[in-house]
Symmetry: C2
Subunit: 143 residues, 2 copies
Amino acid sequence: MTVIFSKKCEYGVQAVLYMAAKDLGCVCPSDEIAQKLKIPKEFISKILQSLTESGIVGSKKGKSGGFMLAKHPSKIRLIDIVAAIDGLDLFNSCVLGFPNCSPDKPCPVHDKWGELRSKAYEMLSAETVDKFKQKTLNKIGKI
Amino acid sequence: MTVIFSKKCEYGVQAVLYMAAKDLGCVCPSDEIAQKLKIPKEFISKILQSLTESGIVGSKKGKSGGFMLAKHPSKIRLIDIVAAIDGLDLFNSCVLGFPNCSPDKPCPVHDKWGELRSKAYEMLSAETVDKFKQKTLNKIGKI
DNA sequence: CTTTAATCAGACAATTTAATCTGTTTTAGA
DNA sequence: TCTAAAACAGATTAAATTGTCTGATTAAAG
């Protein structure tokens, strides 16, 4: 099982961080990304296609084509990738699955969880992919 | 999709909170719990059986039987229920799904996520189900 | 112009998780 | 003792997620 994001989302974030760690505007075929990150190639290809529709990633067809970031890495927040793939329900749904969990009908852990959820949201909103360049390069070298 | 716990785990925590909100030692048939919490009855029955094996819940067979807490509510932590159903991998797995994520091979967000994960673990370890009695009663009244 | 390597599109298969079904055993109470 | 209501056990189905396959389209390069 995954931690909080779907597999699609995990792989999507990995791929965007990977592209952000390369030279600006660099074109990456999905096969390269799949190999470097050990992700099934057809799967990451599909995910990158959906990120293309979301405007986070760009694509170039044909020989020597591939994917590239559609924006400057400093303009891509982690939350943008999550929102594009998994959506933001995660940050509005009840952590215990109670129906109609809301401030006026709070579940028992509403407040305790709310704090953590806000911190997570803030972190993902504050961090842009350019900030992870060095850490991503380190990690990729060790996969 | 669920937030972080599986549906089984969400329902398991709900059911234990429900029992903790009732009188001490009170016997609850799974049908009652299913109706009050709007959970499929065969499903919650299975979940309660597994919590019985884990020693968190006790059971009484036959007519006027049902489930009851096997320990005093002040001795049941939220993390105990999570551990029994979903396990604790959640708190050791890479949030981005990178292979071999560890302090010496950290993923790009290892530190940022680590803080949040620790806080979540601490909260679930600190909170025992007796503390949610009033909030649970409030919520159940509004489902 | 042909070949090659890429995205793209959509169907399909496999796996995991969630939920249901069928039946057995147990026990309180009439 | 009989019946009803419950846990218990195991098989099965359904749904969602993950992963694969086939083929079409596109474009660079020889």
